[in-house]
């Protein structure tokens, strides 16, 4: 590798002060330090040795934790296509993966390119190094959108998020909102047709003749959460209703396991709670993500789900025409379903734990996570306008996180003051 290093070193004067391409120094530097860790040594005063960790490694850990969800998600795009068109039995694993790749890979590339360009432009104009945060953001964005999303939209979203959510606040470490979720929120409110409803989650594709391919009997393009809202309207228990309405599950008994494994339609990376769980274990074991947020988020969602069950009413009474009886099917859904459907698992594991936009104190993290869980369920169940609640719940709590920390830190100040006067 020495020749490569020498080659880079030879170009360096061009980018250094006084060089022709001086303005592009940080772009060059990012490339060089990507391949070769810099030969920097500790200063004369202060610590003489440094930990082997750096931000690149930390970010890379997140990317690795994401890998199961990425691979499964890409395959699931193909799988959903094939069960929708009725040839899931015929298509091989490889064919399904390839189908998914064809759709997902361009999204990933465009997301990295568009956001990365904004990042690099800011590095050039503002004279600061390109940071590693985008390594994670760039892959998170395509994972929280449907595979059918137009490329120009993801390019817009990625660039918008880096610009508005991150760079205007001063770059990595200064942002208030999670960058990837800001991209998703941007898409959600700017182009709702391509990221909500029941037309976008499963790619049907076109036949050779240029017409939409035929779908199986009983095909529905809606996600679990979309169907849950329908169940509510129909006044039927959610699990039975979904199992009945969806073509991707055969019986109510299978529904929970199918959802947990993730063989359901949805955004590319978010469908499999199982893969998110594997990612969570990686993040918790490496301590890159704080278990407090994940655990309290799960507990918060369960608690809120159970609380809603209490108010669900009585279906039998409604059927029998008892006066004043009511039945809200969505409120009656078993609470654990909230953990395995929609983007909850993905959000709580990979988005809520973003250290920059989350609470920073340990106590704060418990509160922050729990409130995300609670808010997610409230938005899902009680607000029919938004089938999915995790995105808004996290963004809301991102804004609240500094407030939570403020009170936690204030308690510390008071405790210390009290201790001192005793």
């Amino acid at each position: 590798m020495k020749f490569l290093h020498d080659l880079l070193e030879k170009q360096k004067p061009l980018f250094e002060k006084g060089g022709k391409l001086e303005k592009l120094y940080y772009v060059f530097e990012a490339g060089e330090t990507f391949m070769f860790t810099p030969p920097e040594v500790t200063k004369a005063k202060g610590v003489q040795v440094r930990d082997a960790v750096d931000l690149k490694r930390v970010m890379m850990t997140v990317v690795i934790a994401l890998l199961p969800a990425i691979i499964f998600g890409i395959w699931n795009v193909g799988f959903q296509h094939h069960i929708a068109t009725g040839d899931a039995e015929v298509a091989s694993f490889g064919a399904q993966l390839l189908y998914g790749l064809k759709l997902a890979l361009p999204l990933i590339i465009v997301s990295y390119a568009a956001g990365g360009a904004v990042e690099a432009a800011f590095a050039v104009f503002r004279n600061h190094p390109i940071t590693e945060g985008f390594l994670v953001t760039g892959i998170l964005i395509p994972l929280v959108v449907p595979a059918s999303l137009p490329l120009w939209q993801i390019a817009f979203a990625s660039a918008f998020a880096v610009l508005v959510a991150k760079e205007v606040f001063g770059g990595v470490g200064m942002n208030i909102l999670n960058v990837a979720l800001t991209a998703r929120a941007f898409l959600y409110f700017a182009y709702p047709a391509q990221i909500s409803g029941d037309k976008v989650w499963i790619e049907i594709g076109e036949s050779a003749a240029g017409q939409a391919m035929a779908t199986v009997d009983g095909y529905t393009g809606a996600t679990f959460l979309g169907l849950a809202v329908e169940a509510q309207k129909a006044g039927q228990p959610v699990v039975d209703f979904v199992a009945n309405a969806a073509h991707w599950v055969q019986s109510p008994a299978e529904l929970a396991m199918t959802s947990f494994i993730g063989l359901i339609p949805g955004s590319i990376g978010e469908t499999s709670a199982l893969m998110c769980l594997i990612g969570a274990l990686v993040l918790i074991w490496t301590k890159v993500a704080d278990y407090r947020i994940i655990l309290s988020g799960i507990l918060g969602a369960l608690a809120m789900g159970v609380l809603l069950n209490v108010f669900a009413g009585d279906m039998e009474a409604v059927k029998n025409g008892v006066e004043g009886a009511h039945y809200y099917a969505y409120l009656d859904m078993p609470a654990y379903y909230h953990l395995i459907v929609g983007g909850f698992a993905f959000g709580i594991v990979f988005m809520a734990t973003d250290p920059v936009s989350a609470s920073q104190t340990s106590t704060g993290k418990w509160i922050y996570g729990a409130l995300i869980g609670v808010m997610t369920v409230i938005i899902r169940v009680l607000n029919p306008a938004y089938p999915e609640g995790i995105m808004l719940a996290i963004l809301l709590m991102n804004v609240m996180a500094p407030l939570i920390d403020h009170y936690v830190v204030n308690a510390n100040k008071k405790r210390r003051l009290k201790r001192a006067t005793v």
């Binding site: 070769f36 040795v49 930990d51 082997a52 750096d54 490694r57 074991w285 510390n412």
Partner: protein, 452 residues
């Protein structure tokens, strides 16, 4: 009354090259000794009071602070002033003494300690050069003679990486330690001694008149600041306490028992680049040239006065710092690493990490031969919750550091700036993913609060 404090937070950096408990015989006595004004935190206007060519005895003043002239900084050895090193704008860097072959000592009055008044004790200590051994908290600066400290704290053990074992370096000096304690009790009603809970120092077994507390846990359990926090915390800017090292107690005790300023000390010479790491007997401020010549192998080596967390890099003929109790030698890590083979994307076991991020597979319990590479570049603060795990105090380090950077006086005060010194947050600097100079920030905060 004695507490047994268990500290969970902290981290022991295990390095190759721990000094074995023997005194090196093959190290020639250094010729040159120096006082460096930079070592004395809080010194405003360092002034040399000697000229090149002057003859001095051990204990003769050679340096003063123009703003605090009572405190004399004296020569550790007898001999001739051979050099006064100055830097930019004639800033005083070092006053160098070339030592006589046998040390002559300036004489100070000898009197049984119980018959010495506070005023006399103070005068003798100020005159002889032992005063700067007293450190004042808040701010961690040289004690002010007009202070009325509430208490004096001594940590009997040093928990820094490869730090010397005081039981070995000070063995047989128990009587001086007791005398030192007795002198200091004239200044403050209470003297606290922090003992290592795992292996309590024998030096203090028979020392009376002190409150002993035990501290268990990884570094920084031996830091006096951590011990103060868990015994009798500093309340505010006016709540003054002093701290002193066991070595300092010995020097003060000797001053009163024998009437001389004896700057002799046994230091550890340790680290991955040291040939047979062991102890060396020398004086405060010694040049390391003879130590380097006989003990340090290789060329690409950094010599550190002090330990790897709080020390200062010095040249191969540089001088030990006034407060240094060891020399560490390690490899200079000025090299690039390809990202796939041993850079940021490669699994590695050869470098230590407190974190468990991807590819950091080295165990924290094995000994490492670390080099001085920063292993990454300066970045904004991104990771949270890590600093708290290495600071065993009820303090939020990240919030404190941010308040310092924002010059937010009120918050610095409320978040605990008075309770910390650089060394207490040095581990944060080691583990910091974003590679900040945290000790420098802490000092900036302490200076801001002190001077404004």
């Amino acid at each position: 009354m004695s507490n047994n404090v268990k500290l969970k937070q902290g981290f022991d950096i295990k390095l190759v090259g721990k000094a074995s408990e023997s005194i090196a015989k093959n190290v020639e006595a250094p010729k040159r000794y120096a006082l460096k004004p930079e070592d004395f935190l809080g010194m405003n206007r360092p002034k040399s009071v000697v000229k090149v060519g002057a003859k001095v005895k051990a204990g003769d003043p050679i340096l003063i602070d123009g703003k605090q002239e009572e405190i004399k900084y004296t020569s550790p050895v007898s001999g001739e002033i051979v050099e006064i090193q100055r830097g930019e704008r004639r800033k005083l860097l070092a006053i160098v003494v070339e030592a006589d072959s046998t040390i002559e000592y300036k004489e100070f009055p000898v009197k049984p300690v119980d018959q010495v008044s506070v005023e006399d004790a103070k005068a003798t200590m100020l005159e002889s050069g032992v005063w700067p051994l007293l450190i004042r908290r808040p701010y961690a600066i040289v004690a002010d003679p007009s202070d009325q400290p509430r208490a004096i704290f001594v940590s009997s053990f040093d928990s820094h990486p490869l730090a010397p074992n005081n039981d070995f370096t000070l063995q047989g000096q128990e009587a001086y330690i007791q005398a030192g304690v007795d002198v200091l009790k004239k200044f403050a009603p209470k003297v606290y001694v922090g003992l290592n809970g795992a292996t309590p120092s024998k030096l203090f077994d028979n020392v009376v008149g002190v409150e002993k507390n035990k501290f268990n846990g990884p570094h920084p359990a031996g830091n006096v600041g951590v011990q103060i926090h868990h015994t009798s915390p500093i309340a505010n800017a006016n709540d003054v306490v002093w701290t002193i090292s066991p070595q300092g107690l010995v020097q003060i005790g000797k001053l009163f028992k024998e009437g001389k300023y004896d700057a002799k000390q046994v230091i550890a010479v340790a680290g991955p680049k040291v040939d047979t790491p062991e102890y060396v007997e020398t004086y405060v401020g010694a040049s390391v040239d003879t130590i380097v010549a006989s003990k340090i192998k290789g060329d690409n080596v950094r010599v550190v006065s002090g330990n790897v967390l709080t020390g200062t890099a010095i040249s191969k003929d540089g001088f030990l710092g006034f407060y240094s109790n060891m020399v560490t030698a390690l490899e200079e890590g000025k090299k690039s690493r390809f990202f796939l083979t041993d850079g940021w994307l490669a699994p590695i076991t050869s470098r230590l990490s407190f974190h468990k991020a991807f590819g950091l597979l080295g165990s924290t319990s094995k000994e490492y031969a670390l080099d001085t590479n920063t292993n990454g570049q300066d970045r904004p603060f991104a990771v949270t919750g890590a600093f708290e795990k290495v600071v065993p105090m009820d303090i939020y380090p990240m919030y404190l550091l941010k308040s310092i950077l924002a010059y937010d006086y009120e918050n610095m005060e409320a978040l605990g700036i008075y309770e910390v010194a650089e060394e207490d947050l040095a581990l944060c600097e080691f583990i910091d993913v974003s590679k900040h100079d945290i000790q420098k920030i802490v000092r900036q905060g302490l200076d801001t609060m002190r001077l404004d």
